[in-house]
């Protein structure tokens, strides 16, 4: 049971990569990228958890209470903001791709190649 979060994270990473490789629609590719990132959230938050620990908010509990690690929460916060912005940027590109190429299939988006 104590390994489950990390196994889930590994699965999410691989499943997301599969989504990017196999999808026939750009929007689905972008959402698969989001799934890859979820793996990082699970690992980071899973790493910081302490059994029986309280949230690191000491407004109503004394400051010496055992708490979960606050650093990973900050890392995940940063991670989430980054994901939101990169996804938004990619979706904007998808909008233009649809207008310019007339399709969202990666097979059709291939002007550059050797």
């Amino acid at each position: 049971m104590s390994f489950l979060p990390f196994a889930v994270a590994a699965w999410l990473f691989i499943a997301g990569l599969y989504g990017i490789v196999a999808s026939r629609n750009l929007v689905r590719t972008i959402l698969s990228l989001t799934i890859v990132q979820s793996a990082t959230y699970v690992v980071l938050l899973g790493v910081g958890y302490r059994n029986g620990g309280a949230a690191p908010i000491f407004a109503d509990i004394p400051a010496v209470t055992k708490a979960v690690d606050p650093v990973v929460q900050v890392l995940v916060l940063t991670d989430v903001v980054i994901e939101a912005t990169v996804t938004a940027l990619l979706l904007a590109l998808a909008v233009q791709a649809h207008k310019r190429f007339g399709s969202l299939d990666p097979n059709d988006l291939r002007v550059l190649r050797d």
Binding site: S23, T40, T78, L90, R110, V111, R113, D114
Partner: protein, 606 residues
């Protein structure tokens, strides 16, 4: 030193100001303001560089100094290599901003703001001493780069290039997050020196190795090592020229820097006993990248794509240098990065002149048209020779350091790899120069319609013009002169050598970051040997020969199709076909690369 954070903060604030004011500020104000900020960052970084030459130092944000070797704040750990890279980045950004004064017909403050954000990210990346901060600046570089790649949104190519770039680099970043999570779980720290100190003295167990694999896979993607390289050619083909200058000149090299930095601060302790195997892995990737990139480079007719593959090839050489895991290898790589960056920047700018003037990027379309630009032609030829490591240029000194390091490191076949890749990449550039500026060589063979279409797309809001503004010629001229001459400035190359040896001292780094102490290792003096000139002459001669073959021989695809070389041609064509533009293919190969790195590391390093 209180100005330490300013090279990052000043361009960030300026970018915000430029964005807020962009509806009202005219082009002149944007140009002048952005260039002035960029110059200011050059000055700031130079001050940091000078100070760090005496004594590398750490600057703790918010005043949170470490207590008992435990750090809770973020540190900028400024040593000469980091400060030097930041300065180099600022110099290239300034050059490309000056170049874009006249290059674009009309741009608004968005371009300048994005360039300044890019500068801030590169400066932060080079100066930081915190692992998560490194990834944050990696992502900032990335996000801005994706936007800049898609700048010419009118055409279809930039959209595809930006999408492939964004997805590839984002996957890389997520792998790095996983790596950081693993290291944090083991050591409870995010500061690189503290992580290194915590891992010292322990064996390298699978967790540490997999953390290394994940982090390196991410940075190898940024550095465009084969098979993680597919995004780079697409991105370079379509990004505006001033942006390509930065991508090839310094952004890709930062990936190599990060690998070196992570090894020497974090992994040198646990992986030190296995250095021989790790060396083999890194040099394996490096050599394949150097040769594969060089071959792809020579077969291109889209000029920007050709230069992109040449960058990939040189990054392979840099990886070999770093992969030797020695101070000498680091020194050679550092010098070579400077020489290559200046030269590649100049080449891209000259290609931009061709595009600006004649509206095409296809080698055969441009045939003979360059006769109207004799000065540019001379510079182009000079730059091509420098790319082949012509003796006494900066690149030559870097190469010779690398060759000495390779031989000392028991890799005697590595210099041959360097010579072959220089000959092919230099030859490709000289071939383009001959065809475009002198009109030599055959006409259009009529094959490869896909590449022709891509290079004919209406690029960069330009149509053909009849004059080239002087600022667009002066900047590359200065860069070519710099790359030819910097190496001979007395004290410069030995100074970089000293800095590189300091970089490679694991215990010293932990000392000056966490305790403020400093200790300078003894630096053996490297002298130029006769064989350096032999190798360089070989590379230059090879480049000229390859150029001649390319110009006057039958087409590449035709020549090798006969006889004993048929399987080789088949392999080359097969490799070319892999560059299909399909993001699914790229990520599949990314997975292959990561899997190979992971399996090799786990098998060889435990």
């Amino acid at each position: 030193m209180s100005i330490t954070a300013l090279p990052v903060v000043v361009p960030l604030v300026s970018a915000a100001v430029l964005t807020g004011a962009r509806r009202w500020s005219p082009r002149l104000v944007n140009d002048a303001g952005a260039t002035a900020v960029s110059l200011a960052v050059v000055v700031l970084c130079t001050l940091l560089l000078v100070r760090s030459l005496h004594h590398p130092f750490a600057y703790w944000m918010g005043g949170w100094r470490p207590k008992h070797m435990v750090s809770i704040g973020i540190a900028l750990s400024v040593d000469s290599i980091g400060a030097g890279l930041a300065t180099f980045a600022a110099v290239l950004v300034t050059a490309s901003l000056i170049y874009s004064w006249r290059y674009f017909d009309s741009i608004d403050g968005l371009f300048h703001a994005l360039m300044l954000l890019f500068l801030a990210a590169m400066a932060g990346f080079s100066l930081t001493g915190d692992l998560f901060n490194l990834i944050v600046f990696f992502e900032l570089m990335g996000a801005v780069a994706y936007a800049l790649t898609a700048y010419q949104i009118e055409s279809r190519g930039p959209i595809q290039g930006a999408i492939n770039f964004a997805i590839s680099n984002s996957v890389a970043a997520y792998a790095m997050f996983l790596g950081v999570g693993l290291l944090y779980a083991r050591t409870g720290a995010l500061n690189m020196a503290q992580i290194g100190a915590a891992l010292d003295g322990h064996r390298a167990d699978p967790l540490v190795i997999v953390a290394m694999v994940l982090l390196f896979a991410g940075f190898l993607t940024k550095a465009a090592a084969i098979p993680l390289h597919f995004w780079l050619a697409d991105a370079h083909s379509v990004a505006p020229t001033p942006v390509c200058v930065l991508f090839s000149g310094v952004m890709v090299e930062l990936g190599v820097y990060a690998i070196a930095r992570l090894y020497w601060t974090i992994f040198a302790g646990p992986l030190g006993p296995h250095a021989v195997s790790l060396r083999a892995i890194l040099i394996g990737f490096g050599a394949v990248t150097a040769l594969g990139g060089a071959i792809m480079c020579f077969t291109q007719r889209h000029v920007k794509r050709l230069l992109a593959f040449s960058t990939i090839s040189h990054v392979g050489v840099f990886l070999c240098g770093v992969g030797l895991l020695s101070g000498a290898g680091l020194a050679g790589t550092a010098v070579y990065i400077v020489g290559h960056g200046l030269d590649k920047a100049a080449l891209f700018m000259m290609v931009g002149i061709l595009l600006h003037r004649f509206g095409s990027l296809d080698e055969f379309d441009l045939r003979g048209k360059g006769r109207a630009l004799p000065l540019v032609g001379v510079l182009f030829g000079a730059a091509g020779l420098v790319l082949a490591a012509f003796p006494l240029t900066t690149g030559f000194f870097g190469k010779s350091l690398l060759e000495a390091a390779a031989i000392d490191g028991h890799y005697p076949w590595l210099p041959a790899v360097f010579v072959i890749s220089s000959a092919l990449t230099g030859g490709a550039v000289l071939r383009v120069g001959g065809r475009v500026f002198l009109g030599w060589g055959r006409g259009d063979p009529g094959d490869d319609s896909g590449a022709r279409e891509a290079s004919r797309e209406p690029d960069e809001e330009t149509e053909s013009r009849d004059r080239t503004p002087p600022s667009m010629v002066v900047v590359p001229a200065v860069l070519v002169a710099a790359t030819a001459a910097l190496g001979v400035i007395p004290g410069l190359v030995p100074g970089i050598e000293r800095a590189a040896y300091g970089f490679g001292d694991h215990a010293a780094y932990i000392g000056w970051v966490l305790r403020g102490s400093a200790r300078f290792p003894a630096v053996p003096h490297t002298h130029l040997a006769a064989y350096d000139y032999v190798y360089a002459a070989g590379a230059v001669a090879g480049a000229v020969a390859m150029a001649a073959v390319g110009l006057f021989g039958p087409g590449v695809r035709v020549t090798l199709a006969r006889g004993a070389l048929a399987p080789l041609t088949g392999a080359v064509n097969g490799f070319r076909d892999l560059h299909s533009g399909h993001i699914g293919d790229y990520i599949a190969w990314w997975t292959v690369g990561a899997a190979v790195l992971g399996a090799a590391s786990l098998l060889l390093l435990t």
